[in-house]
Symmetry: D2
Subunit: 325 residues, 4 copies
């Protein structure tokens, strides 16, 4: 029996990727799509490769008061714009919010699906982690849980493809000619993803205060995030790898690798790759995490969370291998 | 019941894409992989995102005398290197050859799957079209079949992403620094794909002699082919579009669009997009065809052909929507 | 003695490239810069790498009634927006218009500098050719002048980097994520550059009527244009090359090459590369022209034209070799 | 009077960029070019946009015993391959070694030109800094010299375009299709550039021991390096900026900026951009340095060093503004 699904924010990159995954999900049936920029269009006008059976679905203007009968709603809206509207959605409708408004909000589970699936199962409201936290925390969780690094001294140097900046209204800073062959740091010392990372680090380390430096960079590629994380700890490389192998044992989507991970390994998939390099004499541990910012960093993890709260197999609709090259 | 599948040439881009598609195909079970450069490695060493159940499959050196029990073999080898070896494969094993050695060879069907599926069903040996012919012929077929253009006066200006040049041995012409921000024509007046295009044009036009100019270009992107084809004919744009809509009516993978098609619409999928622009006063018809060179241009069409010769639904394993952006 | 120069439209790509060239020109002194989006900024705020001596120049709002004393003005404004304002600039100020409003307008020379410098010398108003015409006409001129091809039967398949689409207001179609790994034709059968190409072809061929098909394509790279031009004619490849070598003998900026030209050969320079491939039996001549769309296709040719009308050496300020890779 | 110049290693990217700069240098005359892969070719065969006057120069096989009369030699050879040969070059010939064999070697000045020009002037043998050190040390020098950060606790997270990996023999890891849309760390905890960085840090900080973590990353772009450097210190952002403004006061090539620097600001130029962000409460200083890896990171700084040792103006031949976009 199929689950009736809606997607809000389908004009954006996160919503578009949710569409791709929902369309090929064995238990989901898309019955509602809403988008600011594309309301009134048919789905095929915005997504020329959309499956034929969905081609004529008309994109609506998002209105929580005018929803069809739904079991599950994915929302992917700009941060700051969704809290009030989502509060008006019936509690009968499960929600996975890909946007940033409900992370560690009351009544919402924080959907770090590979790390704590048990905190997500049975919930009806899940806030998807941000793309940078998804890459960073997946790499750090085994070290924090195992007490291998100090939570109070973590430097995250993260790099994202440009789809991570969102589709927005055509900001010329993200124009092709301006962005190609260009690399830059931004949001120094004040990125919006810091609080959820700090809170999660504290939870994973049993309550110790997090000390976190986070510098995101924009890289001239469409998809992909790499977090290179500098930590203090006395573990060896092998101890870190082994801790991660144990931590993620039996988990479907995290690959522990002894080679430095590459963003292209994950493109189009819900996989995360983590690796480690340590120098115990200097009390240094470098943790590396790679995800597709629109996969595990957004729509992929959202579908994984939806599977968890709908009682489906966690991997349903997420088994496609990465697209390479 | 699953079909036992082998892939030869898995180190190359075409073979790697075949792996991705076979791995998620509902009826295929990969039991054999061979590759020149990667023999002896485990699959996961070459494809870090490979499904866990295939991770430990060891890649073999290709040897037609040492095959396991197989039902179906995909081969993707450099042109000129496969004819003798494939002749030694048992007739019990169905073969789809992605490489260039058997196109219009005796005993092999030419697998232009969207155009003449009936010529492929029931065969045991199928030669997959080249990537340029896949884009070009899919766009031209409705016009040729409908007598809307002259087969003797066709100019094909085709553009491919760099994966179309193959992985080879690390030719520095295809290095990132040399290829990025670079665009060039090559193979002028003598590209290897011309004969199969000419032969197919003649078949589609009922035997009239083909007159063909074909200029491929290398474009700084990984995947994608666009063929812009200049033809002589008196049809209007709408007549061409309507001819294509009729020709591909009921066919799953060809989308007729009234906007100029974009290569990114097809990325990672087996879709082809065709469109037309005509100026009847000048007897000009421009036909445009877009495919992913590794999808419809290689492994996607190969799986489609395999479905046809195995009696499976034509779309099995090929329903994933394109990856965008 | 230095020539006092102004640039209007400095926020755009063409104006920005004019700034780069003017800044290192041995006889030019930049004394005025105007730009819509950047009025009120200092030059260094928009161009962080601008020469120190120009850093504090304040960008003005363009106003033909409020010009400082100038000898020479480069204008690079959106087509349709400059005719009235430029009519109000004193005849004492020489103008090279990089924009599209004065090509073949009365009182303006058409500045195809490598082809007819003598028509430009001594003028006070020069309309710079469009970027596509620059690539196309440079390749065709020797064939047309030599009667080697038919002017009535020319198919131009042109490909441009995305800076050719202009900086505009951040059109999301030209966003990085949307444009990267994407290739598309546009403006079929109705591009604004067609009339100037047709008129020039007629002039070069002694008055015969031009018959022209022109299809531009957008390629995922920042700079560069390649025009692949299909013509009818009985010349051999060597005859075409030889005609071009003679035609451009002694000219500084056009390189005749027997290899297919690559866009990256020209990046950052005012060079044009032309080559030819012919099949006399089929009466086919393929002409290829490569330029940097912001160099020879815009600001480079503009400086060359300025040199011609200011009585300077044609190569002044334009001798920098291309940036490679 | 012109200085007779030779370039060894002209087939590589560093040597090629040296050619571009030497060709437009007002005091240099190129009389000798040697290259492994291109010996026997004319310069124009390898560099189609080379100045006409140099087109026919024949590239030689590198042989220190067969040099023409030279005043100055640029060498750009793979690390490990040049020490013996350069020892055989006459002391009358000044050498700037872009390669890695002579950094902090006896008898060779370390050519960190913007930081200590006085240690370079009057020398005859200069070892050019590596590309990563050029970006990193230019950003750190004012902080170290001013005692604003601890030399014993420095984390360098550096990102380079792929030309930094060198041209090599066509390593397929650097193929376009493999590298595009891919980002990866490499050489963890053991990159060859670490010793020269550590030594220089110690010199700049008056002898204190350097403690250095260095992680390079490969970014899908051709040119550009960004070093993001995490340091311990109590200075404010403004104090760091002010220290840098004073340190580089009167220096031509270093721009201190209060915005995070972008690699594209430097493309094709010898400029370096540095900026800082500090959080005194957490004793954190982030220093950022941007260079073109082939400009300030290789051939640009080499020409600057050559100017210094030849008694020329430091900026000779290096005044071209960056190419943007």
């Amino acid at each position: 029996m199929s689950i009736r699904v809606g997607i809000v924010g389908i004009s954006g990159f996160g919503g578009g990727e949710a569409l791709r995954l929902v369309a090929s999900h064995p238990s989901f049936e898309l019955v509602y799509a809403a988008g600011e920029g594309s309301a009134g269009s048919r789905l095929v006008d915005r997504f020329p490769g959309a499956p034929a059976r969905l081609a004529d679905l008309v994109i609506r203007k998002w209105d929580p008061a005018a929803l069809p009968k739904l079991d599950l709603l994915f929302t992917s809206l700009p941060t700051g714009s969704s809290a009030e509207a989502l509060a008006r959605v019936s509690g009968d409708v499960k929600i996975v919010d890909i946007g940033g408004d409900h992370r560690y909000a009351e009544g919402w589970a924080y959907g770090l699906a590979d790390v704590w699936p048990d905190r997500i199962e049975g919930q009806r409201r899940v806030a998807n982690p941000g793309c940078f936290p998804a890459a960073t925390l997946t790499a750090l969780a085994p070290l924090l849980a195992g007490g291998l690094i100090e939570p109070g001294n973590i430097v995250v140097d993260a790099k994202t493809g440009i789809s991570g900046a969102g589709r927005g209204g055509g900001d010329s800073r993200f124009g092709y000619a301006e962005s190609n062959e260009n690399l830059l740091p931004y949001g120094l010392l004040r990125h919006v993803h810091m609080p959820e990372m700090a809170t999660t680090i504290e939870r994973l380390s049993g309550g110790s205060a997090a000390g976190l430096v986070f510098t995101p960079h924009l890289v001239p590629m469409t998809r992909g995030i790499l977090a290179t994380v500098y930590c203090r700890g006395r573990a060896t490389t092998e101890q870190c790898l082994e801790a991660a192998r144990r931590f993620y044992s039996g988990r479907a989507f995290v690959r522990v690798t002894d080679r430095p991970p590459q963003t292209k390994w994950a493109t189009g998939s819900n996989l995360a790759f983590v690796s480690y390099a340590a120098d115990p004499e200097r009390a240094l541990v470098i943790a590396m995490g790679v995800v597709d910012n629109l996969g595990k960093g957004a729509a992929g993890q959202a579908v994984q969370n939806a599977n968890l709260i709908c009682g489906l197999p966690e991997t349903a609709g997420l088994e496609g291998a990465p697209v390479w090259p």
